[in-house]
């Protein structure tokens, strides 16, 4: 399945157009992120399908930022799904990455994965391989919208109570690049208490996801307490879309209504 991607990347490397390809590698039954600098390494290329499609997705965008900081003048290629492309578009606008230094190698997500993610757009525009899937309806948010106020409160209170403040959601988020994080600010969030302030802690994170969350679902996958974080952040995206007409990651130049920073 990965022949087209492998060939494209191989050509880019041989022609010297990129210094490396940030993708996934399979080794000894494990799948992990890897920067392929030598075309010979591409034999171990993986697309992140271990037991199920897309079950070993990692925040490659986050690693790309680290690479760009270390090697700002080099060009790299990166493996992207629909969500990753949304993330990159935002990171370019937030000036965390340079558009001309990142080449997108896109794969589309199969129906099974798109449905599990309830994805708005399960394929990147820079599509090389894989299906151009269809938009999936949002059931999880709708089911909470149907609840009354009191029922919602009880629901979320119970979910947030299991939080162990591992900060995995923040750590794995490909859009969290702040050097100083509000969640680690002792004056705002009490230390030494688990669960952290219910629901303040999670609502604070949700607010910070405005204009940033690209609905990749890595947060929910990283939560050891199985808190439906993705549903919460999907609602955030829905509110911003309805009230401000902004859909995170869909526009190349339109900035989030909460991003007013101009860097000269």
């Amino acid at each position: 399945m990965s022949t087209k991607i492998k060939e494209t990347v191989q050509a880019l490397l041989i022609e010297g157009k990129i210094k490396g390809f940030l993708g996934l590698r399979e080794a000894n039954g494990n799948i992990m992120p890897h920067l392929f600098c030598d075309p010979k390494e591409l034999d171990s290329l993986s697309l992140g399908d271990w037991k199920k499609s897309g079950d070993t997705r990692y925040p490659l965008n986050q690693m790309m930022i680290q690479l760009a900081i270390a090697y700002p003048n080099e060009t790299f290629a990166i493996l992207v799904r629909g969500c990753d492309e949304r993330g990159l578009r935002e990171l370019f606008k937030w000036k965390q990455l340079a558009e001309d230094k990142v080449i997108l190698i896109g794969i589309g997500c199969p129906d099974e994965l798109a449905r599990a993610c309830e994805c708005e757009k399960p394929f990147p525009d820079s599509l090389l391989e894989g299906p151009q899937g269809t938009r999936v309806e949002n059931e999880k948010v709708a089911s909470i919208d149907k609840m009354g106020l009191e029922e919602r409160f009880t629901f979320w209170e119970a979910e947030f109570n299991r939080c162990i403040k591992c900060l995995g959601c923040r750590n794995i988020c490909p859009m969290c690049f702040c050097n100083e994080c509000t969640l680690e600010e002792a004056n705002l969030i009490d230390t030494g208490a688990v669960p952290p302030a219910n629901p303040t802690f999670h609502l604070v994170r949700a607010i910070h996801m405005v204009g940033r969350c690209i609905d990749c679902g890595l947060c929910e996958e990283a939560c050891p307490a199985d808190i439906p974080l993705r549903t919460l952040y999907k609602k955030v995206g829905e509110i911003i879309s309805k009230e401000f007409g902004y859909k995170t990651g869909f526009s190349v130049d339109e900035k989030s209504p909460f991003n007013i920073i101009e860097v000269k």
């Binding site: 919602r152 409160f153 979320w156 209170e157 629901p199 609502l203 949700a206 509110i239 009230e243």
Partner: protein
């Protein structure tokens, strides 16, 4: 505020528990009026579920 109210509503907290009003420091009467009115409106909404939770924990 629009966003915050909708987020609170999704989390099970009544959006009218949060309000923004601009009052100048020279408008003491208006300030008193705004706060008193807000207190009355909140009382009508009933006790905040978070307060009940805190009492339970204590």
């Amino acid at each position: 505020m629009t966003f915050l109210k909708k987020l609170l509503e999704f989390s099970g907290l009544h959006p009218d528990r949060v309000r923004t009003r601009w009052v100048s420091s020279a408008e003491a009467v208006e300030f008193v009026h705004e706060v008193s009115e807000f207190v009355e409106d909140i009382k009508k909404l009933g006790p905040n579920p978070l307060k009940a939770k805190a009492k339970e924990a204590a």
